[in-house]
Symmetry: C2
Subunit: 385 residues, 2 copies
């Protein structure tokens, strides 16, 4: 860091740190909660249109990519802006692009998602305060390191411990293992997911039992390099969870043991991991939560017909009673605007027609964190009771 940078940093201490765009916030718009402190924009209008703004006088083309690509317009001061269509409430990754190169907006917080540190905007949902921090007893998110035998390295894991965990050193808790989606890691449920706030609020309302939630890194590569939903990758993930994560948790935290006191769940890729790992290991997990998985179809080249439940989980259609007796909760959820919903509903019908006990719920929204926050909020109320 050179001398010029010193001065810059020093004087910035006395003023502000954000990148303001020299323009006022429009009437009726509010800064997004994901903005870094001094930034007015992105700002959200009452109808959920969002104004994005960036001061880039030297740029010739600036765009916003928030699922839909918007061209931004430059004013005489070199400030580019665009107002989007109304956004669905919830958490949305987005990028800015200059000359088609995409990067994170310095005005917003960044989150590990889509395989990189990505900017995101959290659009508040009217009336939804289940993930708002309240004046109730609070737990903690703890960051620890365990040695992964599968990956042969130290890995970070986040652990939610509920309010009161410190107070009674004899009490033991059931454990929910919860997995992020593709392109995310152990930060997903701790940061984007707001797991601690959701659980603190549920526990305060006595809607969920006090539990530990373990938020591990599900990016596990099988020998040979396989990742994703294939068998080798699923086996590698199971080895990581059962062979390294669970032993670490059970020897370092006051947990109840036995399948009835363990749940495995996850979103998207993590939903697939929960499905395979949970249903193939009912001796380990008595509760399974599958949020927005693409396993059953609905996305890309994965036709619904390609999923053969009986091949994936032998006995699930031919001997459902054995699953019903072992699983206390088998839960599936999906967003109502997620293309995964139709094949998901179809497999639910198949499961039910065979007599398999499966609980299903859906929430407004697409393939996004608001649906997953609601899925956790819902699933957590159903387990360990």
């Amino acid at each position: 860091m050179n001398r010029k940078t010193f001065y810059l940093l020093f004087f910035s201490c006395f003023f502000f740190f954000g990148k303001k765009s020299n323009a006022q916030i429009p009437d009726g718009a509010k800064p997004a909660p994901t903005n870094i402190h001094s930034n007015d924009c992105p700002c959200i209008f009452s109808d959920n249109r969002v104004l994005f703004r960036v001061a880039a006088p030297g740029a010739t083309k600036v765009q916003l990519d928030i699922g839909k690509l918007y061209n931004m317009q430059k004013n005489e001061k070199g400030v580019w802006s665009v107002t989007t269509d109304p956004l669905v409430p919830g958490f949305h990754y987005y990028s800015l692009a200059i000359d088609s190169f995409k990067f994170a907006d310095p005005a917003s917080e960044s989150f590990y998602g889509t395989g990189k540190m990505s900017s995101a905007i959290d659009v508040p949902e009217a009336g939804a305060d289940f993930y708002t921090i309240k004046n109730v007893p609070h737990g903690e998110i703890r960051s620890a390191n365990y040695f992964s035998k599968t990956m042969n390295t130290w890995r970070a894991v986040n652990i939610y411990t509920p309010p009161g965990y410190e107070k009674d050193a004899t009490k033991r808790y059931p454990v929910l293992y919860i997995q992020h989606g593709g392109g995310e890691d152990e930060r997903g449920w701790a940061v984007q997911g707001k797991t601690n706030i959701i659980l603190d609020n549920l526990i305060a309302e006595k809607k969920a039992v006090s539990m530990i939630v373990v938020i591990a890194n599900g990016n596990v590569t099988a020998p040979g390099g396989a990742t994703g939903y294939n068998d080798a990758a699923m086996t590698a993930f199971k080895e990581e969870l059962a062979g390294s994560v669970i032993p670490f948790i059970e020897s370092n935290y006051r947990v109840k043991i036995g399948a009835a006191n363990r749940a495995v769940s996850g979103l998207s890729m993590g939903g697939g991991q929960a499905f395979y790992t949970g249903l193939r290991n009912t001796d380990l997990f008595g509760n399974v939560g599958v949020f927005s998985t693409g396993l059953f179809g609905g996305i890309g080249r994965q036709p619904a017909a390609a999923f053969d439940a009986e091949t994936a989980i032998p006995g699930i259609l031919t001997n459902p009673q054995s699953f019903n007796s072992k699983l206390k909760v088998f839960y599936i959820s999906v967003g109502e605007q997620d293309p995964r919903i139709e094949p998901t509903k179809k497999i639910i019908e198949t499961f039910k027609s065979k007599g398999l006990n499966v609980q299903f719920n859906s929430f407004p929204g697409g393939h996004e964190w608001q649906v997953w926050r609601k899925s956790l909020h819902d699933f957590a109320q159903r387990i360990f009771k």
Copy 2:
């Protein structure tokens, strides 16, 4: 998120998530530890030159700003690259710029610094393994929320609890309060500073006593909006620490109370906060650590002569014995290539000439995290003994 994005996310699960630049890593270079997993570059040569690379075929001007500004060169595939001069080992914030607009490099992790989420590169230092995770007992970094009376809002605070904290529910620990620099927040010492690894290693070697380290957000605005080193801002920071943070810690963690069991320290802006808050409140803090503060001069418009120690801390020059009797450790450190070093050495001489007990150390490097990691490593060995 639209259908196209779904597909992209889904298929990315099966391949990789990084932004590769379609070029191989040069012989003898190694990916930086701060790279996001699949990225080869930034990559570090054995002499600490670093190759930065970015695939931006549509851009007309791409630069790297790592204190020094480098113009990057484009090849026929649209990949821009530059190899820097040898970098000082340690942690360096940097930006990429397209058309002069600066943003975080998607190939690297981002960190909250310089007032935004900034990319950074951690250049390993040969022989320095004090901040490398080892097979020793590990503590945790816990993220909690407390209610700030000063800011009238919930705020996050990170707390390092040492190995064994859970095992013996009767043991109480001394507490080090440690502050980040300007443009950073409570993530600084938890992430960039590697506080947990440094303390785990020191405790395992029996070089430091087991302690709790509290990593709070020092961005406290005084009524009227003052921030930085002025009196109103320093008073507001003291109110935050003594009125909200310490009561939260002391009622929720097993800490030893009394000034001898409390230390306050910080880097740069946080060093100034530690200086004022510690020396003005020796009833609260018996140990003070000031790392790389600009208080004494050496930066920008702050001439060394402007700092009047006796005005800042009444009695410090005229009644040093009262400070000597109250402070167990008063420690100052600075980087040897930091322009703050000369005025810092001058004030140390003044303090010593008046009979004030002050411990001083310096480390190779400028105004940067490697110096602060070493300062923590050094200071933590001196306190609570």
